[in-house]
């Protein structure tokens, strides 16, 4: 148990250690308002990270989610501004995401284009299409009925955080318990073996991209309801942020290895570092450098561990 989930446990441990330092050095970090702000801003990232974990487990990657996020957010904002009822807005947004996901899935599973290239192309295409149509203009003054889904701010915040965690639990259970979940691991570990076992890898790959699209759309929706305006560049850079969180949480880029609780720990750890810096007397500008260093240290320690274990295995074999 300890050994199998070493990465998840060590990232969670690092997060706890960071919180402990904050508790000693600057208890103000734990003011309800600040803590709530940190968790609420992490929630949409958690939702996107669920999708990215599925995609990476299936040995694929999706770098178009930033562009998808921007477009889905704008779709939600524009519809809400037209006075469309909120449930319809939500459905249309998720549908848009599913469509984007299906296009990526078709390119990768159908045309067999490597996912990094296919999603690089869709990323550029959607981003520029977005800039062309929106002309860089934000959707402003969203109606009250849409903000926080028409609820009070605390109720809306609670809903956002709860739905993110509920989704995470649901998918974590599905990955372990459902045949479809195990098929994702199987395809990511060895697509040929999975095929021989009766799984259809293209279908699984198509499926994870569609889910990625829907979850990205949900992430955009959960962000759009928090603010009065939706900016067209909102999602820029989201893809690498989410991939980084998954990697830090132990989701292996080579597919088939990793868990959703690990990805969650990655999101929370990277998401806490930034807001914590000012409380520890450091300028917030160093956030990205620190995140980069954490990614490198996490994967390097993983690699060193793996090598040591392999050496032990080799000496036993002799």
């Amino acid at each position: 148990m300890m050994r199998k989930h070493l990465r998840e446990i060590s990232v969670a441990g690092a997060l706890l250690f960071l919180l402990l330092i904050l508790l000693v050095r600057s208890p103000k970090f734990f003011d309800a308002a600040n803590l709530r702000a940190v968790i609420v801003s992490d929630a949409p990232v958690i939702v996107a990270a669920i999708g990215m974990t599925l995609v990476i487990l299936a040995r694929q990657i999706d770098i178009s989610i930033g562009s998808q996020f921007s477009i889905c957010g704008m779709v939600a904002g524009l519809l809400a501004k037209q006075g469309v009822p909120t449930p319809v807005v939500a459905l249309a947004t998720l549908g848009t995401g599913a469509l984007f996901g299906a296009i990526n899935g078709a390119l990768v599973a159908g045309l067999r284009i490597p996912s990094i290239v296919a999603t690089l192309a869709t990323m550029v295409t959607w981003r520029e299409a977005m800039r062309w149509i929106s002309e860089g203009q934000a959707v402003q003054n969203l109606p009250e009925s849409f903000l926080w889904l028409g609820m009070s701010r605390p109720a809306g915040q609670a809903l956002i955080v709860l739905s993110a965690f509920a989704l995470l639990l649901l998918f974590a259970w599905g990955l372990r318990a459902l045949p479809a979940g195990r098929a994702v691991y199987a395809v990511g570990s060895d697509a040929e073996a999975a095929r021989l076992a009766g799984i259809r890898p293209p279908l699984v790959v198509f499926g994870v991209f569609v889910l990625m699209g829907v979850l990205t759309a949900l992430s955009a929706l959960l962000t759009a309801i928090q603010f009065r305006n939706v900016l067209p560049g909102e999602g820029a850079g989201l893809e690498l942020k989410v991939i980084a969180a998954c990697v830090v949480g132990g989701v292996a880029i080579s597919g088939g290895r990793g868990t959703l609780p690990g990805a969650l720990a990655g999101v929370l750890f990277l998401g806490t570092i930034g807001p914590a810096l000012p409380f520890l007397g450091t300028q917030a500008y160093w956030e990205k450098a620190l995140q980069g260093a954490i990614i490198l240290i996490a994967v390097a320690s993983d690699a060193i561990n793996l090598r040591r274990r392999r050496d032990v295995g080799a000496s036993l074999a002799h």
């Binding site: 770098i63 800039r131 880029i253 160093w286 980069g292």
Partner: protein
């Protein structure tokens, strides 16, 4: 397509060139040039032709450096961020540490070399996938640039002699970047296509294990391409600073993906083992000409991005199709 018109086997060489990925792309580039000469204002002038080189120089340098990286089956996402870090360091060394410009430039290139070595050692010694290593250094380098400048510091007022490199003309017409860019392209072309080291890089891309058995020092070769990638990215940063007259932490943001787009569009396989410098150059200019052409014919600039995305998919899908057909034909022949 046009090859169908040729007598089938009398021009095998012509046929091979025209039907190759680079050949099709070159035809596309010619088509772009023809269309924009007709509909664009002043597109046909030599000034414009040379201006296109200026626009493409910085991303072009990154694309050249990424070509051998991708040929070995790797990737380097950190080059754009390294441009930001290098630009900021260059500015700091010159303005705050009062280094003479040439010394500041040399020191910046040395930092680029160190950055490349950091990527290389994590990839070769710890065997971490290049995508992950350079994703981490992508954040690290950009973050260091932001931290060093507190996110706002901007270096300006560089002397004219330095700005000439990015804004001046030789003989009143040739952009100062052109000879520099041509030299780097030539260097990479020779390295990849005329040396044993270059052939080794293709072998590594096909199969690192096989290359090792063939006696190729795989780790040393891989280290070399990432080292060069770091140096070239830093050099691109110096050109960028000279071109724009300022150095900020955001220099080169998003350039890595644009450069990768040019390389992949140019026919380099993302799995490694296949690709040419000529292809990368044609891919690069197909993109830059599209942007500049749309600009001069009052088309929407965003259309260029959309077309590049569509082109990328079409190019690779077509490539897959041709390869599949060819392998079917040979297997039938045998």
């Amino acid at each position: 397509m046009s090859a169908q018109a040729l007598p089938t086997d009398s021009y095998p060489r012509v046929r091979r060139i025209v039907l190759s990925h680079e050949g099709v792309l070159a035809l596309l580039l010619v088509a772009e040039l023809v269309v924009f000469s007709v509909i664009g204002r002043n597109f046909r002038s030599t000034d414009n032709a040379l201006e296109i080189v200026r626009l493409g120089a910085e991303i072009g340098l990154l694309a050249l450096a990424l070509t051998p990286v991708i040929i070995t089956g790797g990737i380097d996402l950190s080059v754009g961020s390294l441009m930001g870090l290098s630009a900021v360091l260059f500015g700091k060394l010159w303005r705050d540490a009062h280094f003479p410009l040439p010394v500041a430039m040399a020191a910046t290139l040395a930092v680029g070399a160190l950055a490349g070595l950091l990527n290389a050692s994590l990839i070769t010694r710890l065997r971490i996938p290049p995508l992950i290593v350079t994703l981490g250094s992508f954040s690290l380098f950009r973050g260091l640039a932001e931290g060093l400048t507190a996110g706002v510091d901007n270096f300006t007022n560089f002397p004219d002699a330095f700005l000439f490199l990015g804004q001046g003309y030789f003989f009143g017409a040739i952009p100062a970047q052109l000879p520099v860019f041509a030299a780097v392209a030539l260097g990479y072309g020779l390295l990849l296509h005329r040396t044993g080291i270059g052939r080794g890089l293709y072998a590594i891309g096909h199969s690192p294990e096989g290359a090792r058995h063939a006696g190729i020092p795989v780790e040393r070769r891989v280290t070399l391409v990432y080292l060069l990638s770091g140096i070239v990215a830093s050099f691109a940063a110096v050109l960028y600073v000279s071109h724009n007259g300022q150095a900020k932490a955001d220099a080169g943001t998003g350039y890595e993906l644009r450069a990768i787009t040019a390389v992949v569009l140019g026919g380099t396989s993302i799995f490694g083992g296949r690709g040419t410098i000529a292809g990368t150059l044609i891919g690069l200019f197909a993109i830059v000409v599209l942007q500049q052409g749309l600009l001069l014919s009052d088309g929407p600039a965003e259309l260029a991005g959309i077309l590049v995305g569509v082109l990328l998919i079409t190019a690779i899908a077509a490539n897959r199709l041709v390869t599949a057909l060819a392998s079917r034909r040979t297997s039938k022949g045998v």
